[in-house]
């Protein structure tokens, strides 16, 4: 009875390839972990000559890590907030009836991630040059926010599509003005999607190096610091330690983002 097989679990082949794929994704991460403990300082060889935990203390005590770390957090935070505002506005506009230029706008929003980062970075840099804008934290933010908008926008648009369209009208119908509808109806329903989008945007900005090299000027974000460290390492395992710490620090927000967006899809079936 072949057709009964449809409710069986996954086939063995699927299971193996799926789990194999996941392992492939984690193989280098394993080595990042391993080499955070190596006694070798500058260049690596395999297998590592010895293991030590001293790099965690060394990383903690390296004063040059902290300013890039704080700058990255600052840039990611500002870029995320701007992307959330602009992405939500764009999503709200797109959720309204069709209007002239709607398709072009959606293309425009997607463009910054669809075009290679080197082009975004270079364009911004030449524009800063033409307009005599000195490099600063804000030029980094400008570049990051540009490609973060689409992340927030996608989350917001997906949630708006799932929301029963009538609830905004229902709110107005019951006497709420636009601002009350925004506060009491739109925000509570969109909030988790925006938060999830914001977290992804934050993570994306936090790890960005391609655009940042063009827009950072004299400052270094954490990835730029890492690039410098990797290119001219003194204590190379320190970069691995930093990578591990960032890895561990992103674990929780990513998990939160997952549960936030998942909750949304479960209530999506209501209404009808």
């Amino acid at each position: 009875m072949r057709s009964d097989a449809r409710n069986d679990g996954p086939s063995l082949l699927l299971k193996i390839t799926a789990i194999g794929g996941l392992l492939f994704l984690h193989l280098p991460i394993l080595f990042i972990f391993l080499y955070a403990f190596t006694t070798e300082e500058r260049t690596y060889q395999f297998p590592p000559p010895g293991l030590t935990t001293k790099w965690f203390a060394v990383a903690w005590n390296r004063p040059d890590i902290w300013p890039p770390l704080f700058l990255s957090i600052k840039v990611a935070a500002i870029a995320t907030v701007m992307a959330m505002i602009l992405g939500t506005l764009a999503a709200a506009a797109m959720s309204r009836a069709r209007f002239f230029g709607r398709d072009q706008l959606s293309l425009l929003i997607i463009l910054p991630i669809a075009l290679p980062g080197v082009i975004t970075g270079m364009s911004l840099r030449s524009a800063f040059g033409i307009m005599d804008i000195p490099f600063s934290t804000w030029t980094i933010v400008l570049g990051h926010a540009t490609f973060c908008i689409v992340i927030v926008y996608n989350n917001a648009v997906a949630r708006m599509r799932r929301l029963s369209g009538g609830i905004m009208e229902a709110s107005a119908d019951l006497g709420a003005n636009s601002f009350q509808t925004f506060r009491y109806i739109l925000m509570p329903n969109l909030g988790s999607a925006l938060l999830a989008g914001g977290m992804l945007a934050f993570a994306l900005s936090f790890d960005e190096v391609i655009v940042t090299t063009f827009t950072a000027g004299q400052q270094s974000t954490l990835p730029i610091w890492m690039l410098n460290e990797l290119v001219r390492p003194r204590q190379r395992p320190v970069t691995n330690v930093v990578a591990i710490v960032v890895f561990a620090a992103t674990f929780v927000p990513i998990l939160i983002a997952y549960y936030l967006t998942r909750g949304g899809s479960e209530t999506a079936g209501m209404g009808k």
């Binding site: 690596y44 395999f46 004299q218 410098n228 290119v231």
Partner: protein, 385 residues
């Protein structure tokens, strides 16, 4: 001639009301409290990466000038940062320094305000990459050769020629050099090829590896195309090259003393040599921005760069040569006479320092192939064209 130009410029400066373009600082006033420097990575160390390498803390304590460093990874980035402004000093290499002078980005240095100027290596005092029409635009900082690094297990005797990286051959260990040599991943490497041809094909009439006419240039590219077949990967950063010598079976390549020293320090079977053809090299100069906001601290730093442990310790740290020869021997830092010799202090004459190729060269106006063509053609060579 010089006076008229000086006068004209001064008048222009007066008319436009700009800060003096060529007028030098005549006296060092009270320190401003800080100095902003654009530098190569590793050039200005405060003991943060390794406690024993520190040539900033004492200066800050003594002068009251806080040192702010912005690192730049390429000469072009340095030029861009200086164009952007906001900096007092830059450690410019020869392929950037003249551009800065030509672009009026840096100001002449009053050597009378730098007491240690007299201790500078005589070979560098008026070097053409920072001295224009007899005017000094900077204080020599550090210099070094691009040496031939090799694996001593493969080469029991030091190779005598760059041919090990340019032509296919059997190495002393009986295996081909194919896939086991490297070359620098920068268009300036064309000069290395030109220098090799200068020695082996005198009929081409190359007089400077940075001034090549079309025919000479074509010959250099042809040589590089041969090299492409020998090279699995070109190196563009020092540590990846070190990885490649350790993990990728690379046994010979043009390199910097920096990598040689580090690998030796790790106990690797590595040594270096300047072969019979000579070598290219780099020489960096501390130059001062035309609109430097902190000229007094800048002068104090330039003096410090010559007078302190900087020259000695940096030459150990970076594997370079001090601009003050005494730094090798007077015990102010960690460097020793042997160390300087290893870094190539005595090979100055064999070294042809990096300069930016321009079309107007000693062979005539618009005769030489300019740098931008080096760039695109070298990309082609690496791509297999």
């Amino acid at each position: 001639m010089k006076t008229t130009r000086l006068m004209a410029t001064s008048i222009l400066a007066l008319v436009t009301g700009l800060s003096p373009v060529l007028a030098q600082v005549t006296a060092i006033g009270a320190p401003e409290g800080q100095v902003n420097i654009v530098a190569w990575p590793g050039y200005i160390e405060r003991g943060e990466t390794m406690a024993e390498f520190d040539w900033v803390t004492k200066f800050e304590e003594a002068s009251g000038c806080k040192v702010n460093v912005k690192t730049a990874n390429t000469s072009d980035e340095m030029v861009a940062l200086m164009n952007e402004g906001g900096f007092d000093l830059v450690t410019a290499s020869g392929d950037a320094s003249l551009r800065l002078v030509a672009g009026d980005r840096v100001q002449p240095i009053n050597i009378d305000l730098i007491p240690s100027w007299s201790t500078v290596d005589d070979r560098l005092k008026s070097a053409p990459w920072h001295t224009v029409d007899g005017v000094h635009y900077g204080v020599p900082y550090m210099w070094g050769p691009n040496v031939l690094m090799y694996n001593t297990e493969v080469f029991p005797e030091p190779p005598t020629s760059w041919n090990v990286v340019f032509e296919e051959m059997t190495l002393p260990d009986g295996k081909s050099n194919k896939g086991r040599v490297q070359a620098y991943d920068g268009p300036i490497h064309v000069a290395d090829a030109a220098q090799y041809l200068m020695f082996h094909k005198p009929e081409l009439g190359i007089t400077s590896p940075y001034e090549l006419n079309d025919e000479q240039y074509k010959a250099a590219l042809d040589l590089l195309r041969v090299q492409r077949n020998l090279t699995s990967r070109y190196w563009h950063d020092a540590f990846i090259q070190m990885d490649d010598f350790k993990n990728e079976g690379v046994v010979a390549s043009g390199s910097w003393p920096f990598q040689v020293n580090l690998l030796k320090g790790e106990g690797q079977p590595i040594a270096s040599v300047i072969p019979q053809e000579g070598a290219t090299g780099w020489a960096d100069t501390t130059m001062m921005h035309v609109n430097a906001a902190n000229p007094n601290c800048s002068y104090l730093w330039m003096e410090h760069s010559l007078a302190s442990n900087l020259q000695s310790d940096l030459s150990v740290w970076f594997g370079a040569n001090p601009s003050v020869p005494a730094a090798c021997t007077d015990g102010r830092g960690m460097q020793t006479a042997e160390g300087c010799t290893a870094n190539g202090l005595d090979d100055f004459e064999k070294i042809r320092f990096w300069t930016t190729p321009v079309s107007n060269c000693s062979q005539g106006e618009n005769v030489c192939v300019p740098y931008y063509r080096w760039v695109s053609d070298y990309i082609g060579v690496i791509g297999g064209r």
